[in-house]
């Protein structure tokens, strides 16, 4: 794995919300094609960390590099770097006033300036990949939560990012719908996409993760391959956390 280039590098990243110290010297590296699952109790900074990776939150100290390019030089360059990443949110955040297809095509036509037919072709191919091409003409609120989240994944994939970020993608879903979303994510992992997934789905971590990162109080407590992480966690805090969720 060390032979692969790093896709994401965080070095001594610090973030405050007012006086609250949300990320404390977070240092983390994710290689190209690597699948990393981030877990930890709520308020541990895992969402903040993943949101700093695509600069939805700006970090105040430290450095974040995506494929070797760091944020903070100019707004235009930040925008270009951000396009390497696709983001899937806990609340889906689909645009309710556009159809499923338009949700997928609008960024292609407006940001990438592709012709309409080409955008539609790309969008349909990704909707097929998440197995809901037949829902294309519907509006998001007519779909189930699991279907909406799969649309959100397709929408992010349309921009052809090299890194996919998932911020608790299954936490807002009914138990019966979690699996259909995880299946899509497993398939995606199999295609060699670099993935950082914040989740409590430990089954998913076991199945596809190359590495599990455990965070608490804004710090990375420990990180290890899943087998080792679940069988033999080093810290008491990790053991306590695992005993509560498993």
């Amino acid at each position: 794995m060390s032979a692969r280039n790093p896709a994401i590098e965080l070095e001594g990243v610090n973030k405050w919300f007012g006086a609250f110290h949300a990320l404390k010297d977070v240092t983390l590296s994710v290689a190209e094609g690597e699948r990393v699952v981030v877990c930890g109790p709520s308020g541990s900074g895992k969402s903040t960390m993943i949101r700093c990776v695509n600069q939805l939150e700006r970090h105040q100290a430290g450095e974040i590099r995506i494929h070797g390019r760091s944020y903070g030089r100019s707004a235009r360059e930040d925008e270009a770097i951000r396009r390497d990443t696709g983001m899937v949110f806990q609340q889906f955040n689909l645009f309710p006033h556009m159809t499923v297809l338009e949700n997928c095509t609008y960024a292609l036509t407006w940001v990438k300036q592709l012709p309409e037919a080409e955008a539609k072709r790309i969008a349909m191919s990704h909707l097929e990949r998440v197995r809901i091409p037949e829902q294309a003409p519907k509006y998001p609120l007519q779909l189930s939560g699991g279907q909406q989240q799969r649309v959100a994944i397709a929408r992010a994939l349309c921009m052809q990012p090299r890194i996919m970020l998932f911020d608790e993608p299954t936490s807002a879903l009914d138990p019966e719908m979690i699996k259909e979303v995880l299946d899509v994510m497993v398939e995606l992992a199999g295609s060699g996409m670099t993935m950082v997934v914040v989740t409590h789905e430990m089954g998913f971590a076991r199945q596809v993760a190359d590495r599990v990162v455990f965070m608490d109080q804004g710090e990375v407590v420990e990180q290890a391959p899943p087998r080792e992480f679940f069988a033999n966690p080093r810290f008491d805090r990790t053991r306590m956390f695992l005993s509560q969720i498993l």
Partner: protein, 448 residues
């Protein structure tokens, strides 16, 4: 897979049963809404009686006992006294109520302006037309130039002529495009470029053809406008429904975009822009419209250098626009705040810039949820224009008051007020119905 001791039973959901018969249909509706209990029944009967008394009195006065033909008010009073309305006075004054003191033989210009407005707006509802956004924008931005010359007339300098020509070329382009899009699906300029410049729309030759087409269109309009001169009609004689519609129409079309910009500015991260927007909004919202009208009417000339005369109507329009924009800004801001943060984040994560995410993602949703309030504001603005009568403009209300001051119809006040009440009602009710229709259409498919 856990081992089960017995084989699983098969669960079959029951079919849905129809509702009980007395809860549906007309009888069910009456029972549920009007006669569900004794107090409710009593209220229904009292309500029906009040409705009967009011409608009977109004119809009796306005229709059954009314006088429809009389030479003056005295004759009306001799026939029915005060038991019936005296409509001949209103009928004689209808042209004035609608056009104010606009010269009678020039009134066709107002009618033509209204017809052009309709003609320009009709393509927005035709399904075959694809360039609806461009047509809508051209209507809002260019129609005022054309209409203002039509209504004002007079000698136009080259700049004025150029602007009017812009208006006319917009109208020509709109209808040429309607025809070409209906026949071929291409806008007029794109069609000419295709025919003369080859099939590649981005080839340099096609671009030149497109540019030349625009130039030719504009030149045609300019030639038409140059040779066209109308008698000047000063704004002092504008009045009636026409004036009311001019002021409120401009106020409405200006207030929405200006309100959107002010609302965005108020939420901007740039302190200077934010401070300016907050100051503007709070200043204009804290002052009654009447005060603003007075300020603009009496005090503005004091600040202007000697010899600079700003038309009184223009002053009133500017005052109304600024006032309406400040109110609209707060309405739009309310809508912006109702949009979840996740929508902004999703737009940003997809690589959309500030203006793209605002125009494509945030504003369509924010404006949609604010339609009732926005249209409410429009209706309020439409009615508020009656205040311009205070600074001496002859709007619909002033003209209605003038009927009773006419020596033939001296003292005839109730009938013209009743009549303009109906006019106001028709316009406001139409706006409100249209907004509800719009809400339903935009909401279709987005509800769960």
């Amino acid at each position: 897979m856990p081992d089960h001791a017995t084989p699983a039973e098969i669960f079959r959901p029951r079919p849905a049963a129809p509702p009980p018969p007395n809860t549906i249909g007309v009888a069910g509706w009456l029972r549920a809404n009007l006669f569900s209990s004794i107090p409710n029944t009593l209220l229904t009967l009292v309500g029906a009686w009040i409705l009967y008394v009011v409608v009977d009195a109004v119809l009796g006065w306005a229709v059954f006992n009314a006088v429809w033909d009389a030479p003056n008010r005295r004759a009306c009073l001799d026939q029915v006294g005060r038991a019936g309305a005296c409509w001949p006075g209103v009928i004689a004054w209808i042209p004035n109520l609608i056009y104010g003191l606009y010269p009678k033989d020039e009134v066709w210009r107002i009618n033509l302006g209204a017809a052009l407005l309709v003609l320009w707006a009709v393509p927005l509802w035709l399904p075959a037309v694809r360039s609806k956004v461009a047509i809508g924008l051209s209507l809002v931005l260019l129609f005022p130039f054309l209409a203002s010359y039509l209504f004002l007339g007079g000698i136009k300098g080259p700049v004025w002529a150029a602007l009017v020509a812009l208006g006319l070329s917009g109208l020509l382009w709109t209808w040429l495009t309607v025809v070409t899009e209906w026949r071929t699906g291409l806008s007029f300029v794109a069609l000419v470029a295709r025919v003369l410049g080859g099939p590649e729309p981005d080839a340099p030759r096609a671009r030149w053809v497109a540019r030349l087409t625009w130039a030719a269109l504009y030149a045609t309009a300019f030639v038409l406008v140059w040779g066209w001169e109308l008698r000047p009609v000063p704004t002092q004689v504008w009045g009636g429904l026409f004036l009311t519609l001019v002021i409120s129409g401009i106020g409405i079309t200006f207030s929405l975009p200006a309100g959107v910009l002010l609302a965005l500015g108020r939420r901007s991260r740039m302190p200077l822009i934010r401070a300016f927007c907050v100051a503007f909004i709070e200043l204009f919202r804290s002052v009654p419209l009447i005060t603003i009208l007075f300020m603009f009417n009496t005090m503005l000339p004091l600040f202007l250098p000697a010899g600079v005369e700003v038309d009184r109507l223009l002053r009133a329009i500017v005052a109304v626009c600024l006032f309406a924009a400040a109110y609209m800004a707060e309405v739009v801001r309310g809508g912006l705040q109702a949009i979840p943060k996740g929508q902004y984040e999703a737009a940003a994560a997809m690589g959309l810039g500030y203006w793209q995410s605002m125009t494509l993602v945030i504003l369509p949703q924010a404006l949609k949820i604010m339609i009732p309030t926005i249209v409410g504001n429009f209706i309020g603005l439409f009615k508020d224009t009656t205040l311009v009568s205070i600074i001496g403009l002859l709007d619909l209300l002033s003209m209605a008051r003038a009927v009773g001051e006419d020596s033939t119809w001296l003292g005839l006040f109730i009938e013209p007020f009743f009549f303009i009440t109906l006019i106001y009602f028709v316009f406001c009710f139409a706006m409100s119905q249209y907004s509800m229709n719009l809400e339903r259409r935009l909401g279709a498919g987005q509800r769960r």
